[in-house]
């Protein structure tokens, strides 16, 4: 019984750490881009995936989506939706970085900073970091789902 409690508590702490890490990452990523959407639009254009006009709209909407989803992870009423949105965003980011790397583009990531960077983008690091965040996201999603199913089973029985 004590072992089960310990396991449950450990999982709860892990979930909390995962949620806080994801939340912090996305909030910190969003704030500089909200402050300077013009510079972020330039970063988006650098991926050569969308037109300049669409890049501007993405630069306008995406940071706010990241910010809302980042905070949303900590709000019980919208945490599942936020988690799912963050997972989808991470998949898109991984695909974009992989694509830019394959095409040999010299981009400014625009991840945590709106402006151009003088440093060469470390694609492998970017992709691995996002995979790490995605793993945390999926872990939290699965545990949330299992927790919900257990609660539903308890309430019906």
């Amino acid at each position: 019984m004590a072992a089960v409690n310990l396991e449950v508590r450990s999982m709860a702490y892990l979930m909390l750490i995962g949620r806080l890490t994801l939340s912090a990452a996305f909030i910190l990523a969003a704030l500089p881009k909200i402050q300077d959407p013009a510079a972020f639009a330039i970063s988006v254009e650098g991926y050569h995936v969308v037109t300049a006009n669409l890049a501007m709209w993405i630069a306008l909407v995406l940071p706010w989506l990241e910010l809302v989803a980042g905070f949303g992870l900590l709000i019980p009423q919208i945490k599942r939706g936020s988690n799912l949105i963050i997972a989808l965003l991470l998949v898109v980011f991984i695909a974009l970085h992989a694509s830019a790397w394959a095409r040999g583009l010299d981009i400014n990531c625009g991840c945590f900073n709106a402006h151009e960077s003088e440093k060469t983008p470390g694609y492998l690091w970017l992709i691995l970091r996002n995979i790490g965040l995605l793993t945390a996201c999926i872990f939290v999603l699965i545990r949330d789902w299992q927790h919900r199913v257990r609660r539903e089973d308890t309430s019906t029985s």
Partner: protein, 134 residues
Amino acid sequence: MLREFCIILLLTVIGVAYTLFSGLSPLSRAEPKLEAGEIRLADARALNAIWVDAGGAKKFEERHIPEALLLDEEDWDAGLFELMNTWLIEPRPIIIYCESEGCGKSKRIAKRLRQSLPDAEIYSLKGGSAAWQQ
């Protein structure tokens, strides 16, 4: 779940509206701000400059600004030698460009070149060669 998405969407729309009305919006594209060591195309064209392509050998072969020299990070010494020969014959401003505004290579190469040629006037082109093509 649908309700959650609606709430998230609504909050995002409110945030976007704030950006639009606060004047931060990138939708009305103002003249881009210059950072130290950058130059706009209009100003660059007025100079009798030495143009340097930082986009790499492969992209240089496909397309480059007329009379531009190649300065590749991977073949730095050869590119620097050719640039120095050109510059020493007639010292002129040096303008480094890569393919687009989001490319950081021109700034990196400009920074490295300032160490090799401390007496030269060196700029990186704002907007990259995409600005030239417009």
